[in-house]
Structures are given as C-alpha cells and as structure tokens.
C-alpha cells in the first residue's frame, strides 16, 4: 500500500522525494484520475499541500516567482504586468472545483499537450526552478516539456517556482474546446506582443493541443517581427504567415478534432489574438 508523506517544508519534501519510488502529489486533480485508471498505485506520495513557501508569488530582479503550488483560483487573479495571458489561461482551467485544487506546477509536470497554463507560460518566456538534494537548476519551460506526460523533471526533483519575466508589452490567451467549462482544449494559444512606432518589436506565440507538447511558433514569430499592422491585411503576407504557422505545429486527428480543424483554428486564433493585442498596444 502506498505511503503518503506530508512534509511541512520544501527541504523536507525533497528529502522524501530522494527516496525510491516516490512521486509528488500537488492538488491531486490529475494523480487521482490516474489512480482510478490503475496508474501510479504502487508509488509512495509526497504531498506538497502543506508547503506554504510554494504558494507565494513574489517579485524579484529576474521576474515574478510564482510558487509551483499556486492554484488556478489564485492564478486567475494574478496581475503580473504583461502577463494577462497567464491569468486568462488559469480562468479557463476546468471549473471552480478544479481551479481550487489544481496548481500551476502540477499542470506543467503532468505534461498534458492540452494543459492550459503551459502555452501561456511559454509565450511569457517562463523558466522553471527545480530543487533536489543535490542542488537547484533553472530550465526554460520550452526545454522542460519533452512529450505527452514527459518532462525534464529528474527523479528526486521538486519543481519549486515558475519564473515569469515582467514584460512591457501585452499578452492574451484563447482556447477552443467543445464547451466552455471542463473542456480539454482542441487548440489553445497565447501571444505576447510588444510594438514600437507601429511595428512589432517582440512577439512570442505558443500553442497547445497541436503538437506532442505545447510549442512556440518560431517561424510565424520570425515573419511577424518588424511588421506593421497593415501587413496583416495583405493576402500574400497572410498566406505566408499561415504556411509558417502550419510548419511550427504538428496536430493530429483524435477524438476531439481533426488535424485540419486544428490548423484552421490555430491560424484564425493567431489573427484574432494579434488584432486584440494591437488594439491594446495602441491604446497604451
């Protein structure tokens, strides 16, 4: 039978995680569904629920440090400059009951390709901080996500914080699902934009549910950087942008949607998100 350790400090938690056959339990909203399906039943669990130090959000020199145990009910109220997409993504997670329990760190480590918070954090260029008995390391989120259910988390490591750099631009998150609540995304997208004198100076686009992990759309970003708003109405530019975006993503047919539907939605979302952000940028 599984053991269930309840450490009170991160220090104590990593000592438990150093033991054989242990895994962390954050809010349990994913772990307990997996257990119902017979997964991880032989593991011992290290509960992170009592680690107050991982439930804090603090501003430091390199950005905002969001504790991995910050739940989505709290994350949807965050007001980090330039990071509206994170709060918007948090508000789209499950339903109130899930948002009261599900955590940002848990969402990342579960590594669902459809995780709502991951594209938002990728568009914000977030990094994750990992601690184990042998030390601490910081990994860009884009490198941390390895595949469906797979991350770069090493045995014995605990994700303690997510570092979100403060941006001077604006960001937005969109999600398409079969219904508004409790829906797994068919396609989700976060865009971060900075403009100067009517030109895009910085853009980061990240998508969920259209590849084995959430992905950055580097080709589309390269095309968009330096362009003006009117370029977005030019048919030729739009065709090139769509082609670039479709190269960035690799959606598949599954029970929720077809590959073609996801491609169409991904591009329309990009055009929509750019127009929303462009308005915000010009008002500022």
């Amino acid at each position: 039978m599984s053991m269930f350790y309840q450490p009170l400090t991160a220090e104590e938690a990593i000592a438990y995680l150093a033991r054989e056959n242990t895994m962390a339990c954050a809010g349990g909203t994913d772990l307990y569904v997996n257990r119902k399906h017979g997964k991880f039943l032989d593991k011992d669990y290290v509960s992170l629920d009592k680690l107050q130090e991982l439930k804090q959000v603090t501003k430091k020199a390199d950005g905002w440090h969001v504790g991995s145990m910050v739940n989505f009910a709290c994350a949807e109220k965050l007001e980090i400059p330039g990071a509206a997409c994170l709060a918007m993504a948090a508000a789209e997670v499950g339903a109130p009951q899930i948002r009261n329990r599900g955590t940002v760190g848990g969402n990342i480590v579960s590594a669902s390709p459809a995780a709502d918070s991951v594209p938002a954090l990728m568009a914000l260029d977030a990094k994750v901080m990992l601690r184990s008995v042998s030390g601490e390391r910081v990994v860009p989120l884009t490198d941390f996500m390895k595949g469906p259910g797979k991350t770069d988390l090493k045995p014995g490591e605990l994700m303690t914080e997510i570092i979100v750099p403060e941006g001077k631009g604006s960001s937005v998150f969109s999600k398409a699902g079969k219904r508004n609540a409790l829906a797994i995304a068919v396609c989700s997208q976060a865009v971060y934009l900075e403009t100067e004198n009517g030109k895009i100076t910085e853009i980061r686009v990240a998508l969920g549910s259209v590849a084995p992990t959430a992905v950055r759309a580097y080709r589309a970003e390269a095309l968009l950087k330096g362009t003006e708003e009117k370029a977005l109405t030019c048919a030729e530019f739009k065709a090139a942008l769509k082609a670039a975006l479709l190269e960035d993503i690799s959606p598949i047919d599954d029970v929720r949607a077809t590959k073609e539907y996801r491609q169409t939605v991904a591009f329309r979302m990009l055009m929509h998100n750019l127009s929303v952000l462009w308005k915000e940028e010009t008002v500022c």
Binding site: F4, T29, R35, K36, G94, P96, R101
Partner: protein
C-alpha cells in the same frame, strides 16, 4: 492506516484511513454521509462537490489525508446551516430538482458561489455552476433558484 481529524458540518471526527483514500470515500463509507454522490469519479461532473475550508472541491479526487485538520461542509450540513437550508428551499421552490442526483453538488457549488460573490450576474451564476453536470439538463431552473437568493 493512519488517523486524521476532520470537522464535518461542525462535528469533530477522528477517522482511521488508508493513506491514499479519497475524501469522498471517507465521508460516505466511514462517516455514513451518503448525501455526497459519486458520479464520474474523475472530477468532471461535480456530484461529489463539498466545501473544504470554505472552498468548493471535488471530493472524489481529493486525498483525504490532505484534509487533515480541515473544516468540511457537506449537503448534510443543511440541517444546521441556515444558508444551506435557504439554498435547498430555493431549489425546491423553483423545481430545480429532477432525478436529484446532482442536487447535493449543485447546492454546495451554489453555497461556494454565493459566499464568494453574493450578487452574481447570470453569466457568473453559470460560471459558478460550470463544474456541475445535470444529466436531466434542468439548468435553467437552477439558475432561477440561485437568482432568487440574490
């Protein structure tokens, strides 16, 4: 096996649990509080909604051990809790109960919604109850019941 302490509907209990047992299982099987229902068992339907320290949660995917020392409110609390009793009466008055299986979860979700936002808009009511499914699809009567409490 290990002991946890829960204050359920105002009463303190010391309960012997399996380490990975769910809170739903403890409530139904150890305390005999069968008002809280198991629907999907995966946190999708909200039939098992209860309040832990005032926050609505799906008890079917809640590790009981993490609730050690917490205050729990279940639909049985309606006996002693005037606010819950009002919600129950509003559901009755508006015919917001069909087969009744989702009702305990709906009532608990309404309780959490009104605690956080005593004057929700229609949109906010629907968002507040979005984690609770009704297979009889009697949603409008429930929204009307919640509106009557504002």
């Amino acid at each position: 096996m290990l002991n946890i302490q829960l204050t359920v509907n105002g009463e303190l209990h010391t309960i012997l649990i399996d380490p990975a047992e769910t809170l739903l299982h403890v409530l139904r099987e150890k305390l005999g509080l069968t008002g809280t229902k198991e629907g999907c068992g995966e946190g999708d339907c909200g039939a098992c909604t209860i309040l832990v320290n005032g926050k609505s949660v799906n008890s079917c995917i809640y590790p009981a051990i993490q609730a050690d020392g917490c205050e729990i409110l279940t639909v049985e609390g309606v006996e002693k809790n005037p606010k819950l009793a009002r919600i129950q009466q509003a559901f009755v008055d508006h015919g917001a109960v069909q087969c009744g299986f989702c009702s305990p979860g709906m009532i608990m979700a309404t309780c959490a919604l009104l605690d956080e936002n005593p004057t929700p808009t229609d949109e906010e009511i629907r968002r507040g109850l979005s984690g609770n499914l009704c297979r009889c699809t009697g949603y409008q009567a429930m929204v009307d019941a919640v509106k009557s409490l504002i």
